[in-house]
């Protein structure tokens, strides 16, 4: 998305895709690192050479997305709720959408057409 914005000079205009994507897939070949003094993760994307810091919950969400199957948002929320032993409520749905959106901007996941 950033590439399209830069290439066609659309900075500041509305994004080309405005609807919430309903299915997601994880980027491949990322390199993950964690240490024993916190539950945060550092991920390196060899294609962009960018490095990102992720919370344990975000890493868990990425792991769920990464099994090479396209995932609908409802499935992701349900799986996450089970892993975190909590209910799949609105708050968790909002967290899931926002985290996916952040990971999309970082290039760690990508939305699929419905």
């Amino acid at each position: 998305m950033r590439g399209i914005v830069g290439a066609f000079g659309l900075r500041g205009e509305k994004p080309l895709v405005t609807a919430q994507p309903s299915r997601w897939m994880a980027a491949r070949d990322l390199i993950w690192t964690c240490y024993d003094d916190s539950d945060e993760w550092v991920v390196y994307d060899p294609f962009s050479a960018d490095v990102h810091l992720l919370t344990a919950s975000a890493r868990l969400l990425w792991t769920v997305v990464s099994d090479e199957q396209p995932h609908a948002i409802e499935d992701l929320v349900a799986t996450l709720a089970a892993a975190l032993e909590r209910s799949p409520d609105d708050e968790l749905t909002r967290f899931t959408r926002e985290t996916l959106s952040s990971m999309d901007r970082a290039g760690l996941v990508r939305p699929l057409p419905s």
Partner: protein
């Protein structure tokens, strides 16, 4: 040895001289007396010989035509290109350091380079990664005035094959109030004349300790990673820094880990794994030196 090194400088405006600085052989050329004076003052302990080869070719050339006489200038030619605008001629000597920084940051991709001050004691390295004006050079200058060996006040140079840190001892740059603070603490050390850099900040260079220069081929392993921040008037605070965040700091301050791809990232990730990591805020050097003595003695 020192006498021979100095006599070799007569070749500066002809073939040039080769200066061995850590793992690099640097060819230096200049017809400007400011460069010669600078080398005599700060590089007297370095191996210098005549030669026209090197990893980096650094030439400091004077202005031509009217610029030889009216507001004379000096230009850096680095490996054949001029990446910077001309400087006032009185900055010819110090510009050598800025040129070397450019060469290392842009060309030394055999190593992972991080913007950091680095010192060593007892075979263990303390890395102080931080952006400019964080007080890392001040802290570094104070540490090497004690029992610490200077690796660099500018670069942590890591061999991705071994994970070892390589020394690259060079003159330490001090700015603004740090100048008086370190002059008071280290009256025996050789300092250069005070000048203003291109951003208008007062600066001086400080000659690196002879022992650090002599031991410039002795690598060492990383042990501590401390992210410093000078905060005037604030008490010293020192707290553990989660390693994941330390790794983010390192990648943020690295000039070239992305050039090395996976290898560069893994090198930094492994370095962090080997280090105790902390965040430091300080204003009182005596206080922080005593603290670092305690922490690094464990």
């Amino acid at each position: 040895m020192k006498h021979r090194a100095l006599s070799v400088l007569s070749e500066l405006d002809a073939r040039g001289v080769q200066v061995a600085i850590g793992p690099f052989l640097v060819r230096v050329r200049s017809e400007l007396t400011g460069v010669r004076d600078y080398l005599e003052r700060f590089y007297v302990d370095f191996p210098i010989r005549t030669g026209d080869e090197g990893h980096f070719d650094v030439a400091v050339v004077g202005g031509r035509g009217v610029r030889r006489w009216v507001r004379p200038q000096a230009s850096l030619v680095l490996n054949g290109v001029r990446p910077f605008l001309p400087l006032p001629a009185h900055l010819a000597g110090p510009s050598l350091e800025w040129g070397l920084n450019w060469c290392i940051g842009n060309n030394a991709h055999r190593y992972v380079a991080v913007h950091a001050a680095v010192v060593e004691r007892g075979g263990r390295v303390l890395i102080l990664p931080a952006p400019p004006s964080s007080g890392k050079s001040t802290l570094c200058a104070a540490l090497i005035s004690g029992e610490w060996r200077l690796f660099s006040d500018e670069f942590a140079l890591i061999d991705p094959e071994t994970g070892q840190l390589l020394p690259i001892p060079r003159p330490v740059a001090l700015k603004e109030r740090s100048i008086e603070i370190i002059r008071r603490r280290s009256p025996h050390v050789v300092f250069g004349p005070e000048a203003q850099d291109t951003e208008g900040s007062r600066f001086v260079h400080m000659r690196p300790p002879a022992d650090s220069v002599r031991r410039a081929s002795e690598e060492a392993r990383p042990a501590w990673l401390i992210v410093p921040r000078f905060a005037a008037g604030r008490p010293t605070t020192f707290e553990p820094l989660p390693r994941a965040r330390a790794l983010m700091q390192l990648t943020d301050q690295s000039f070239n880990y992305n050039y090395l791809g996976r290898k560069g990232f893994m090198c930094l990730a492994e370095l962090v794994r080997q280090c105790e990591c902390y965040r430091l805020e300080y204003s009182d050097l005596d206080d922080v030196l005593a603290l670092l003595d305690r922490v690094t003695a464990r």
